[in-house]
């Protein structure tokens, strides 16, 4: 480095490297560029001191400010929840009918209920609340345990055949499995049940089935097969089938019934979230205005 070669033309020193006769000028960087470079280094140093930066084994250094992205999220959530408190307090003190009657409250409850639904309910009832075989469609106007806002709330809060003491509880006897009815009686009553909703049975004697129905089924499903929401007995004469309108499926159900189970949600989500869920389910369009008999 003692004698730096000076390029004749530009007067700038060269780096001393030569490739095939090509030399590289050692042009100094512009001063402002250099200062910018130092400024970024300084910025980085300050940043490393103030904020979490250097990765260690299980976590990074904390930084003097003690800032963390988790805390930031926690604060944001707390702020959002604080903003929602006014609504949640109102919901906590209001009856379902009062919530439905208040457009502002209903809008909040419906949206909050939708997000709760998407987390807790879609696994069985589907993302559009459309249900599937064995899991009721919540969009339609057919309700097992009643479709008024308050009835929906009660069902969600305490569940169906759950461990909650106030749960909806009913059991359909296993007519075939337990030998209550003979096989031909079961076939006949399945034929009769199909005619209730205007379907044509493939086998069985409808008239005899009617007798079997009146003796064994009408107490829960109603004399006309219209169901009874007090005991969660489905209507057998409407166009909606929880499982299948196929005669074999009906026979299987009478033989050894499958009965739906839903957990009680109030212990898990709290009364406010349950009310919000009820408002959302009600808003889907199938709810009935009052707890009228159906």
């Amino acid at each position: 480095m003692a004698d730096r070669e000076i390029d004749e033309l530009t007067g700038t020193p060269t780096t001393g490297h030569t490739w095939d006769g090509i030399k590289e000028l050692d042009t100094p960087m512009p001063r402002w560029w250099l200062w910018t470079f130092y400024a970024t280094i300084l910025f980085a140093l300050v940043y490393v001191i103030l904020y979490p930066a250097i990765p260690l084994v299980s976590r990074a250094t904390n930084g003097v400010l003690g800032w963390s992205s988790r805390d930031a999220v926690r604060t944001e959530i707390a702020t959002a929840q604080a903003a929602q408190t006014a609504y949640r307090d109102q919901i906590a003190n209001a009856s379902m009918d009062q919530i439905i009657a208040n457009p502002e409250l209903l809008q909040f409850a419906t949206r909050a209920g939708r997000s709760a639904f998407l987390v807790n309910c879609v696994q069985c009832h589907g993302s559009g609340a459309q249900g599937s075989v064995g899991y009721p469609n919540l969009q339609d106007d057919d309700w097992l345990w009643g479709g008024s806002p308050e009835q929906i709330r009660t069902t969600i809060a305490h569940g169906i055949r759950s461990e909650d003491p106030a749960t909806h509880m009913s059991v359909m006897p296993a007519f075939g499995h337990d030998g209550i009815l003979k096989q031909d009686q079961i076939v006949n009553v399945s034929a009769y049940v199909m005619t209730l909703s205007g379907l044509t049975p493939r086998f069985g004697v409808t008239s005899e089935g009617a007798t079997v129905f009146a003796d064994n089924c009408a107490s829960c499903h109603g004399v006309d097969g219209g169901g009874k929401q007090d005991v969660g007995a489905p209507s057998l004469k409407d166009a909606i089938w929880l499982r299948s309108p196929d005669q074999n499926a009906i026979i299987a159900q009478i033989n050894n019934p499958k009965m739906g189970v839903m957990p009680a949600w109030e212990p898990r989500l709290g009364p406010v979230a349950v009310k919000e869920l009820a408002a959302y389910v009600y808003s889907l369009g199938g709810g009935t205005a009052t707890a009228a008999s159906q």
């Binding site: 589907g126 993302s127 469609n137 969009q139 057919d142 205007g198 166009a239 009600y282």
Partner: protein
């Protein structure tokens, strides 16, 4: 005959031969424009006052829109996504009006440029206007060109320090005012001003002011002509925008050459001389630091100050104005041909009687008819067509809008009586500044009944109260009884109508049903 003799030597030279090589980087030579006086300078003062006035004052104009909307005449409300311009309010989905305005601005620029060159650059470009303003301040504190050059060379003294500080202080004031004015376009100006001065405004307001203050100060005070030459793409597009009939600031060689600093002596000696006395006045006033006599150049913003400078010199030596003038290339070429005659060199005797008398007849002069040519007409027609179309569209646009989204999951719901129900999310936009009530109904689906959860439906119609300037989201249920629910899908319309305002908005919708009746 040797091989060497049979090979011709080609006339070629390396582009980087030793003689041509120079440093790759040339430092900027500072420009000290001299103050010019004349018609164009006066015009530029007026344009500067008008454009700066528009920029600084517009946010403070008030325009009453009633109690439900801001009363600022021009407001870009980013938070609520509205743009207000006097009686026009634009929603985000109407942003195409802004796109239309930009297209009009583009075509307008093409039109003006093809007629009179870089009028935008020379007169109205913010860079030009603010540099002009900064030069006023510079001249006030440091004097005109020569004094400024002397001051630049002088060592730092108390006097120099005072002058410089005062200049920078005023520049900074202007820069802050410029950055400050910008933010008032985005919020209620009086409120924001109060907040800014009491240090209660949002950080983004201060950051914006700081950035624009810095850019104004640096671009107007120091970068100046470098912005036009190195940063702005517009000068590069010029060459495509100009044609032979475009007016540009032109040094008329045909009457200026041969230039001479000693005209009288040369004339006495019997030499023929042109009008140019080579006084360099045109170079001294040029804010871009160029010599217009070298011909049209990329750096030239056609501010026309050299015309003013040259005209005052022509007055002094008793010659006609217009040695430097707005001229078209076609006229220039014609006159150059006349001036050159047969000899090839410019001879004043070809353009003046006896070489010193009045200009000869037959020289080309500007004719306004040259402005009307297919190119300018096409620009004008396109520009007006877009303007008229936008004006028509603005005058007849609906201020009630509906949009319909069919529920995707489930597509339809079977009801207990065997009927089918579809659900829709209907958004009704009230784009006026008044609350209004619209009736929502359906059309084209016989037998259907509608329901809106949480709302009353009377006679298959629901009255919806819409708050001013807002979108109301509704859930609409449409049900068909079993006997009507036949087929796969039916088309119908969802209609929102405001009888008072006479506005109706229809949205096409589809009623979906199961493929076959699978009961």
């Amino acid at each position: 005959m040797s091989v060497q003799e049979s090979v011709d030597r080609l006339n070629a030279e390396a582009v980087n031969s030793a003689g041509r090589r120079g440093p790759l980087f040339a430092a900027r030579t500072k420009i000290h424009p001299k103050r010019a006086e004349g018609a164009f300078r006066r015009l530029k003062w007026i344009i500067m006052a008008v454009t700066l006035g528009i920029y600084y004052l517009t946010p403070w104009l008030r325009f009453d829109r009633g109690p439900h909307a801001p009363d600022q005449a021009v407001l870009v409300d980013l938070a609520s996504r509205r743009f207000y311009f006097f009686f026009i309010e634009i929603w985000p989905q109407e942003f195409f009006y802004v796109a239309g305005l930009l297209i009009m601005a583009g075509l307008g620029l093409f039109l003006v440029t093809s007629v009179a060159g870089r009028v935008w650059c020379g007169y109205t470009c913010p860079q030009t206007v603010w540099v002009d303003l900064f030069l006023v301040v510079e001249r006030f504190f440091e004097g005109d060109r020569n004094k400024r050059i002397a001051l630049d060379k002088a060592p730092l003294s108390l006097d120099k320090f005072t002058k410089r500080s005062a200049k920078y202080a005023v520049w900074l004031l202007i820069a802050v005012a410029t950055g400050g004015a910008w933010i008032f376009y985005f919020a209620d100006a009086p409120t924001l001003a109060r907040e800014v001065f009491t240090l209660q405004a949002a950080p983004v307001a201060y950051i914006t002011v700081a950035i624009l203050t810095a850019t104004t100060f640096i671009l107007g005070g120091f970068m100046r002509e470098q912005v036009c030459t190195y940063m702005c793409p517009w000068p590069r597009i010029q060459s495509a925008m100009l044609d032979e009939q475009s007016l540009t600031v032109t040094y008329n060689d045909w009457r200026g050459e041969p230039r001479s600093r000693h005209q009288k002596r040369a004339l006495a000696a019997g030499e023929s001389v042109g009008d140019c006395v080579d006084c360099n006045a045109c170079v001294a006033v040029c804010p871009q630091g160029i010599d217009i006599r070298d011909g049209q150049q990329m750096e030239c913003i056609t501010c026309a100050l050299c015309i003013d400078a040259c005209d005052s010199v022509m007055d002094k030596i008793g010659r006609d104005h217009g040695l430097i003038s707005y001229a078209t290339l076609a006229d220039y070429n014609t006159n150059m041909a006349i001036a050159r005659g047969n000899s090839g060199a410019i001879d004043p005797r070809n353009v003046r009687e006896n070489g010193t008398g009045p200009l000869k007849a037959g020289l080309a002069h500007f004719n306004w008819r040259h402005l009307v040519r297919p190119r300018t007409l096409i620009y004008l027609v396109l520009w007006s067509a877009i303007g008229v179309a936008m004006a028509y569209s603005l005058a007849t646009r609906q201020r009630l809008e509906t949009s319909v989204l069919h529920d995707r999951n489930p597509l339809y719901v079977r009801l207990s009586d065997g009927g089918i129900r579809n659900a829709y999310t209907v958004k009704v936009s009230n784009m006026t500044n008044q609350p209004r009530t619209v009736s929502l109904s359906i059309d084209g689906l016989p037998g259907a009944t509608i329901a809106l959860p949480g709302r009353t439906v009377v006679g298959n119609t629901a009255d919806i109260a819409l708050p001013p300037d807002q979108v109301e989201t509704l859930r609409l249920l449409v049900a068909l009884p079993p006997e009507a629910a036949k087929g796969e899908r039916l088309d119908f319309s969802i209609v929102a109508s405001d009888a008072t305002a006479g506005e109706t908005s229809r949205s096409a919708a589809v009623f979906e049903m199961p493929k076959e009746d699978g009961r």
